[in-house]
Symmetry: D2
Subunit: 349 residues, 4 copies
Amino acid sequence: MVVVMEERASEEQVQHVIAQLVEKGFDVHRSTGQLRSVLGAVGGNRSFDTRLIEVMDGVHEVLRITEPYKLASRTFKPERTTVSFGEFRVGGDEVIVMAGPCSVETDAQISASAAAVRKAGAKVLRGGAFKPRSSPYSFQGLGEEGLRMMRAAADAEGLKVASEVMDVSQIELVARYADILQVGARNMQNYTLLRELGKIRTPVLLKRGISATIEEWLLSAEYVLSGGNTDVILCERGIRTFESYTRNTMDISAIPVVQKLSHLPIVADPSHGTGLRDKVTPMARAAVAAGADGLIIEVHPDPDKALSDGAQSIFPSQFDRLMAELRIIAPAIGRSICLDPVARRGWGT
Amino acid sequence: MVVVMEERASEEQVQHVIAQLVEKGFDVHRSTGQLRSVLGAVGGNRSFDTRLIEVMDGVHEVLRITEPYKLASRTFKPERTTVSFGEFRVGGDEVIVMAGPCSVETDAQISASAAAVRKAGAKVLRGGAFKPRSSPYSFQGLGEEGLRMMRAAADAEGLKVASEVMDVSQIELVARYADILQVGARNMQNYTLLRELGKIRTPVLLKRGISATIEEWLLSAEYVLSGGNTDVILCERGIRTFESYTRNTMDISAIPVVQKLSHLPIVADPSHGTGLRDKVTPMARAAVAAGADGLIIEVHPDPDKALSDGAQSIFPSQFDRLMAELRIIAPAIGRSICLDPVARRGWGT
Amino acid sequence: MVVVMEERASEEQVQHVIAQLVEKGFDVHRSTGQLRSVLGAVGGNRSFDTRLIEVMDGVHEVLRITEPYKLASRTFKPERTTVSFGEFRVGGDEVIVMAGPCSVETDAQISASAAAVRKAGAKVLRGGAFKPRSSPYSFQGLGEEGLRMMRAAADAEGLKVASEVMDVSQIELVARYADILQVGARNMQNYTLLRELGKIRTPVLLKRGISATIEEWLLSAEYVLSGGNTDVILCERGIRTFESYTRNTMDISAIPVVQKLSHLPIVADPSHGTGLRDKVTPMARAAVAAGADGLIIEVHPDPDKALSDGAQSIFPSQFDRLMAELRIIAPAIGRSICLDPVARRGWGT
Amino acid sequence: MVVVMEERASEEQVQHVIAQLVEKGFDVHRSTGQLRSVLGAVGGNRSFDTRLIEVMDGVHEVLRITEPYKLASRTFKPERTTVSFGEFRVGGDEVIVMAGPCSVETDAQISASAAAVRKAGAKVLRGGAFKPRSSPYSFQGLGEEGLRMMRAAADAEGLKVASEVMDVSQIELVARYADILQVGARNMQNYTLLRELGKIRTPVLLKRGISATIEEWLLSAEYVLSGGNTDVILCERGIRTFESYTRNTMDISAIPVVQKLSHLPIVADPSHGTGLRDKVTPMARAAVAAGADGLIIEVHPDPDKALSDGAQSIFPSQFDRLMAELRIIAPAIGRSICLDPVARRGWGT
């Protein structure tokens, strides 16, 4: 940490700050300039609240020089992490596409979804069994019955399963059926949940909170990593801004930013990122062009009849076309989108 | 809901929209103008996702005419709600002040805090035993031991107790010691937690999420209310904006806005609202001047040694002075701030 | 406009609102429901301030059903506009790339820039002669001398010229040298300037204000269009959000949104959109993948020595590589990026 | 500036950064720690773009230790500035209230406004003759005729005049009639205008841009101050956030923040800050309670008939009541609101 003293700070004030820093376990190095003193403080605790120094008399500003997260940083682990589940892995050359309906509704609906997305090249079936809804009067999901339906549909198509876990009490249940556990944007700072997910070994897909900075997001990943679960996939899904035409503003630039700061893979969710069906396709293309390691997309065989988020779900035919476009775009940055997971199995990875 | 068709919409498109609305349970009334058709749809489900209509061909815009919350609205209950705990109540003529340290740390610290804030006129002792921290490496609270200490300190001074509950698993424990259960900003959309809080009868203080709209906040209150717990106090504690000088931007205007839309009482938290000690006092004054029903303020006997949020905690002497200023301001809007809860007990309320 | 009355609104209040609407020139249609009355008001003035009705007693909400802009809307002109300058046009199948340094500095610098960007496939040379700088102590541009240098460098390479105009007093001068006049983000609501630009016939590139909604942006375009200048190109260049890692958050989704609402072409500026050199390339790719009609990019032969914005300027070699990547991506959405404007001249457009 | 090198930075990279800093005129001091090197750079140019160092290889982060503004800072001038116009001054013990209609419309309207606001205790008549409107189809103001009417109305009541200047070309004209020149939020970064206002000696009321950080706002003040005009009054008028219930979110905390960073007086505009009539009064009280040096409020004798912003204008009777409330609140922080400028004249200031 660097402490910049005010130009008018007295020598007594400077000494008081130094004493406080030493007491908190820092080594202090002082530079006395013509205009002001600047103190460099090293050591101490990574989670030290720098505002404690900021409010001291004579202090102009305190600047932190270490990121507050460690395990999630490139400094700690320079090479990129790949997260594997079965024969697939996120973070390698292949752009992995996860697709399916917002909620699991019926056996027929989830089976039709699985067949459609597999055929187009998706590797993971997504679908919610427990739904966080902003209104208590909305459809809240089918629970375990939904998980069972989704697992069966995925297995029939050779797909993996990703599903959301909303509360500590659901972890064991969801992990029994799913290969990837999603943490929704509203739970990004549910620390009780994150801590428990650190204790298991199922990959976690951690969505960015609707108003979370990238730093806060990586700190939430740190909760999972510090528990010993190293398989964390980050997911950009739009942030809240003043623009209200789209439901959220998808922060495409978060993709290259995260890839610079962290070794963790990052995927993008253009369905929640925009909230509007006709914006999903262009934003999915943009995410892959920007370097995303994967996509998670809502596809529904009959969106107008969907029990939740139908308005942001695309039709299977739109999904087919999107996948074809992505197969042109991915090579521009040295990535690929493979066609058929069934065929692929023979190749090994 | 009002559906505005595009100027170029065909008659077939209009009919398709009408059919869809009728199927969803709405009664539809059509106005055909020179330029375009407008459809009024009444009935149906309060939580209907209007985007389902928005994505239909020929639709220009869909406008919702009913708030998605009901029990929290003034339409449902025109007269203001007061929330009582013991002899005190929030939402009446008296501005209720809750104060104390961010975290309970030791018996001596919490006792000194309780004595200091009671003397200055606070009615409720606040303090955290379970702390949600953005870094996994920060102090996480004393748990039940902290609750026990706080209860004892409050009882010795005739104060009530407010403390945070972070997870469903903590409700029973915290409710055993506290008179008011706080739901933190990060948990404002933890629906599992809200639903459980609807089942008990302890008052809930629901903080606004850092990027929650007022509508979303009232919808979260609706989760608690719809469970049968009518004692909800809302708490404005700052929203996230582009301005980074203050930790958050305290939305003082949310106070009169909430009071117009809802019957629930609203208090303000200038400590988290600004994150900086020297901004707490002016913002506390502003909140009361704007009509807040109460305040919740971090006061620490020795902020520089606090284990959490010391930088936004004020000294007891600053709190004394603030209370004196508030006693001048409150009468400007027909409110009062009473002096001493011990003396007050004799009067009844 | 649709006026939703409160459930408790009295008949007298409803009548008072109707009278007010009629007085303002609207025709009013009333629907009386079980719960509340809803008034449809048509006619009147497009710029009527609906808040005037919103503050009346008994009014719950007022919903506008017409966009406040007209000439910029797809409703007014369904087919897409292409803006031509010489043999080039923005808004057609070709993605037009404008590139060059932030500021014109010397003859050598601008000539080297022109040669480099032309060779890679750019069609327009960009560069500032008048610079809006947030600090009065920063480099403010070379003025007319810079324009002269840029014109000469562009002519030598067969490029067109785009340059910023900051004030009404500069229009005539800049228009003498440039083929496209840029209006910077800070001037997006400088109505005096916009009005004057409506009177000339040089194409205008209108950047989105840092916190402008898409609606406000189109209203600013309306100022130019309503003066008679129909050649307006919109430019997304990043909006201000809470995320501070990037200078701005580039709103890629604005590209498909604008293309739905308006017939005007839209280009993207990834240099200002991110503010960081290593993010320019991925965001440029993303913009083209999302459907942008063009790009405007800062390229400097020696960015570390640039007098302004060097940190967001890319090297010519990075620009070469970006153009190669874009040539792979553009066909995915039926667009092209042509190689050489000199060769191209023979073909006609 | 402090340059934090990456942990993995090579010695060559460190030397390259040092060389670059020295070339740019900085003196460099290096601290080599166990984990990384940190470079302190002093001297150089206040407006140096630190991103130039940030993009160099091996650099982790660059931290600026000097505010980019100088004349506006408390470091430069520790004692508070008071801005005088005639017998009044902003920034002293008295809270100065400026009030009047959004636009000057007729002689009768402006005279009635002047009489009403003077009687309640306002010292300055506000009103627009040139109006910046987001739609080209809205009422644009009466121009010089409006200024003449306002001057006459103010003189008749012993009031001063504040009016907006939108463009360099209007400065001379408006300054002939007004005592205070307002710069609107949309023009806060119109540097051509600010520079010209630095050359005159009429006080300038500089509104905060709708998305301007406090630092950018003070930099804009610096443009005026650096031209030699030291009479700058800052005006908080609401910032743009995700909350859409109010037109803007009034940043009340900006009042104490500005008073800490700068010596310039600051007033608040609750009319634009909220955009809704019934929120003006609580927010005006909040601003004074937070320490504002003054208020600027829209008051209209017949708001429902106002040609602009009627919905946020309060009635004279509401203004009377607000002033009575403010007279109770102001003494809580050692301020006063004087009753009658006519009477006051005898006392001198």
